[in-house]
Symmetry: C2
Subunit: 246 residues, 2 copies
């Protein structure tokens, strides 16, 4: 069996997220499996690096599938991109070693949350960013973000209910940059809990707009409950940028 590894870019606006749930719902995984199954002439499942939320986007989702197809890499690349809808593109496709697994082998991920920080909304970026009209103070946000870098129990920054599994994660870096009218929050970590990037962003926005102080982060960690953190900002500003493997 060949093991084929892909990098997938998608505009998630119309989709219920990455993960297929029923046979016919609008998911990225479902669309890819449909096209790949037609291509190889056999029902084929793909494995992604992990879920992405309904409405969230990706520049670099990673997925793989096993096949006995004798099509060349170039033929597969062309077929898939020809038959995928225009809001999903396979940017890279190659042979992987037999043991490569898109989910089990993940070492970390990079997400960006993109804020449109102008008084007027942008007609061009409204589906790929979140509009925050009040001016954000980046220094305050950076001071707060520094408190999130490290290994902590991120349960209060997630929508995880009580769970048997650990909610300890490591954030390796958070950078907050102004790029034209955008404020971009880039987070690299070894793993992310459900809604973690969106709740961290909502919390940092409260600090950047001076509703809360940077020490708000310390309070959230010490109380340890979800309801103390900021709101879950909309998925339309969230992008999975890269998945890291060894």
């Amino acid at each position: 069996m060949r093991n084929i590894r892909m990098i997938v870019e998608y505009d998630g606006t119309k989709y219920r997220g990455w993960q297929r749930q029923t046979a016919t719902d609008m998911t990225i995984q479902g669309k890819l499996e449909h096209v790949i199954s037609e291509m190889v002439g056999k029902k084929t499942e793909i494995v992604g690096s992990g879920r992405t939320d309904a409405g969230a986007h990706a520049y670099g989702q990673v997925a793989n599938f096993h096949t006995k197809s004798t099509l060349s890499i170039k033929e597969m690349y062309q077929y898939i991109n020809q038959y995928l809808p225009q809001d999903i593109v396979v940017k890279e496709l190659k042979e992987a070693g037999p043991r490569f697994h898109s989910r089990y082998n993940v070492k970390g991920k990079k997400y960006v949350y993109r804020i449109w920080n102008e008084s007027t909304a942008s007609v061009f970026h409204r589906k790929h960013s979140y509009h925050v009209p009040q001016a954000l103070n980046l220094e305050l946000m950076q001071e707060a973000a520094a408190k999130l870098v490290g290994t902590y129990d991120f349960l209060p920054f997630s929508s995880v209910k009580k769970s048997e599994k650990t909610t300890v994660r490591t954030i390796e870096s958070i950078t907050i940059e102004k790029k034209d009218a955008f404020v971009e929050i880039t987070i690299v970590g070894d793993g992310f809990l459900y809604n973690m990037v969106r709740i961290i962003t909502g919390t940092l926005i409260e600090i950047g707009s001076k509703k809360k102080k940077p020490t708000y982060i310390d309070e959230i960690f010490s109380v340890g409950k979800r309801q103390n953190a900021g709101e879950t900002v909309p998925s339309q500003g969230l992008f999975l940028i890269e998945v890291y493997y060894n």
Copy 2:
């Protein structure tokens, strides 16, 4: 009567262009007039700086309207942006002198044509750019563009049929820049004939992809016929950036 001047940004994807044609068609002018008429309680016509094509976009279309309304500038700004569809935004609104006329007073315009110049299409920019997969040589395009700067009869670079009016126009500058994966062609001139920016762009793409040489421009001018120039590239890459007045 007050004379109100606006700067309008729009994503033209869903529209049949700026100019209202029937009472109910999807045009930017029609949408604005509908909201403004409701606001002032009286059927109100607006004047734009000129048409934009079906599917083309604007960062800085200028329009004005006359009204006896006593609403403040701030109230108008808020009302209009609240009731406009999300793909149209009034970025600026102010009182103009009584004689200001958005179309008659135009001194020049700046357009950008945006090309996505990567082998794979972009899922995020596909509605606001034109995908050219083959690599473009910017030096050749710049050499050709320099031949278009000046005062010439641009009839062969337009879709104008025989006309009583002059087809002589002045292009003040053309710059061609690489910005990440985009190639952006920026054209400033005193006026533009129908399809002129899109045909100039189509011609420059033929030169940048080495199907033609920069001297192709000289040939088109000397023969003087539309069918000798490049194709009319799609409107989705075209942006009206700014309108100049004295």
